[in-house]
């Protein structure tokens, strides 16, 4: 037992995590940073406001261009909540190297969905957990739209589900625009900007017209389709240096 404890302790100080990568998620509509509770139009001309927008990003790691190996040091989940600016900036301990993108998962994978009571970002108190059909939502977009026929013109896209064939959990890889390389070193910190362009959530492989679909709050085929739209919102990375 003691040997085991020593082993797991040493596992936490693996070499190669001495650099840091900062990742910043920013939501956009029509190329403008999203403001909550502000009126926008989707690509189909439908007016909407968003009051709540959250998603899970898991197992985030840089994609190294200078070696075949992948840094796999960071294996937890972050809840990005656009009503809480601090949650949109993630600081990752990573190995130094030259990179051309990042990869992560949208949603909570099927292994972590069935682990029982969790804390931190996976605490059900965060409002991303379904209680009658156990499972974490992958993302949640709520607001109002005059074209919604729901009470108070509400719109609600609570998109989740991890079971085949309607999984809403996706592994995605986003490259820098123009495949630009960036170096992660101990001394030099870089901020990777990840735009989330909501226009593509509406105008995706399964066009989302609010008049037709104003809510989707259970796992299933519809949720799966909207999750596919959502990953299309992650268009490309831009780089800034750490202020």
């Amino acid at each position: 037992m003691i040997c085991f404890m020593l082993f797991s302790y040493s596992g936490k100080t693996r070499p190669g995590s001495e650099a840091e990568l900062m990742i910043h998620f920013q939501a956009y509509v029509h190329g403008e940073p999203l403001l909550l509770n502000k009126k926008y139009k989707n690509p189909f001309g439908e007016t909407f406001e968003i009051s709540r927008f959250r998603f899970y990003a898991g197992h985030i790691q840089p994609v190294y261009s200078d070696s075949g190996t992948e840094s796999n040091l960071y294996s937890s989940y972050k809840l990005i909540d656009f009503s809480d600016a601090s949650s949109t900036m993630i600081i990752l301990p990573v190995a130094p190297g030259t990179c051309n993108g990042i990869r992560f998962e949208i949603g909570i994978d099927s292994v972590d969905q069935v682990k029982g009571a969790q804390t931190g970002p996976l605490d059900p108190i965060k409002g991303m957990y379904w209680t009658w059909n156990s499972g974490y939502q992958s993302f949640k977009i709520e607001g109002v739209s005059p074209v919604s026929d729901q009470p108070a013109h509400l719109i609600a896209y609570h998109i989740g589900g991890y079971r085949y064939p309607y999984s809403t959990v996706w592994k995605i890889k986003i490259n820098t625009t123009n495949n630009e390389l960036f170096r992660i070193t101990k001394e030099y910190k870089i901020v990777v900007e990840v735009p989330v362009e909501l226009d593509y959530f509406f105008d995706g492989p399964s066009p989302l017209r609010i008049k037709e679909i104003s809510t989707c709050t259970t796992p299933g085929e519809q949720a799966r389709k909207l999750s596919e739209n959502f990953i299309g919102s992650f268009t490309g990375l831009t780089l800034t240096s750490n202020p």
Binding site: G116, D123, I125, R163
Partner: protein, 345 residues
């Protein structure tokens, strides 16, 4: 080397000390449980905290609906004599409350299998507006303000603090400990009792006509099946399809365990059958045809009057009276103070 041996010995004794006083015993003949208190080390204190929470209305919005309001020990932790249970603000629950026993062997819970882990199950009744109607912020706030709970949580989990995980894990320490394996059936299997002639005949009929789905020793195969019950037009309950979104799961419900079946009436996901005899008559003559009807009962299950008598007699041997009277599982306020392993009867 000697040092290593000494440390190992100390470690071993430590482990024994941690485990032996409060073992979770797997009844003879049972398969390995699904839930083995992984990441939720089972202790006497943890069990007791879960038990206190289970019986405490503090978890519900108006204080009137503890878990035990729908899960009564004398009914093997189902709701006695109720088709649907009562919840907050004079509302009915959506489904018939199942008995709670041998939950550690369940990979999924609820009639539709919607719950994927025993620890997260309480979230459903706690937050449902028809049942306990509370929210997690409120529950945690109330527990933190209580005179006793902060110290109890601190004692069980080794540091101060109350969060949803600790509440859920404490509850799981109690609910997963509800092992029922001392019915006359079990005693017969262990060789300490014998079926009478009626029970023996009933057991033979059971094995022939029921055991395919109600598999021993847990008396369920944990599958989801459409047993030909017409959908209630007000409940509109599609069962397993609500969870999977798949048409082929329409109207399928979990095969319930038949242990303690005398105590858990009424029967069926919506409690439509008042008696065991009604259930048997359903299989005998009332099966409603539909696309997803279980193939094994397409022609019904022919059960004669005589067979019905023997079957019902046998099912009586599945009543575990020591389980429903076990003071360890009772409301702690009623003064059960003696402590022994949860599954020694």
């Amino acid at each position: 080397m000697r040092k290593v041996a000494a440390i190992s010995l100390v470690g071993f004794c430590f482990v024994m000390w941690m485990y032996i006083p409060f073992p979770f015993l797997i009844p003879k003949g049972f398969p390995p449980p699904v839930y083995r208190f992984q990441n939720n080390h089972r202790t006497k204190e943890g069990f007791e905290l879960g038990r206190k929470l289970f019986y405490d209305g503090i978890l519900s919005k108006d204080g009137n609906f503890p878990c035990s309001s729908c899960h009564q020990q004398f009914a093997a932790f189902a709701t006695y004599e109720h088709r649907l249970s009562h919840g907050f603000n004079n509302q009915f629950s959506f489904r018939n409350s199942p008995g709670l026993f041998n939950l550690a062997w369940n990979r999924e819970l609820h009639w539709d299998g919607g719950i994927n882990h025993i620890e997260v199950q309480p979230l459903a009744p706690l937050l449902d507006p028809h049942e306990m109607s509370e929210n997690l912020d409120q529950i945690i706030g109330k527990l933190k303000k209580d005179k006793l709970y902060p110290a109890l949580f601190s004692n069980v989990f080794g540091s101060p603090g109350i969060n949803s995980q600790r509440i859920l894990r404490a509850l799981a320490q109690f609910t997963a400990s509800l092992v029922s394996a001392d019915a006359k059936y079990d005693q017969v299997k262990r060789g300490t009792a014998q079926f009478n002639q009626y029970e023996k005949t009933g057991y033979e009929i059971f094995q022939q006509k029921c055991a395919r789905c109600h598999q021993e020793p847990l008396f369920t195969d944990f599958s989801y099946r459409n047993t030909g019950m017409e959908m209630d037009s007000t409940l509109k309950d599609f069962g397993r399809m609500r969870i999977t979104g798949r048409k082929e799961d329409s109207l399928k419900f979990r095969v319930p365990s038949l242990r303690n079946v005398y105590l858990t009436f009424p029967y069926g996901h919506d409690g439509r059958f008042s008696t065991i005899s009604d259930v048997l008559e359903h299989y005998n003559s009332e099966i409603v045809e539909s696309a997803t009807l279980d193939s094994s009962i397409r022609k019904g299950i022919t059960i004669s009057e005589n067979e019905r008598f023997y079957l019902i007699t046998f099912l009586g041997t599945l009543t575990d009276s020591s389980f429903v009277k076990n003071p360890l599982f009772a409301d702690p306020r009623q003064g059960a103070t003696d402590f022994a392993p949860a599954d020694s009867h």
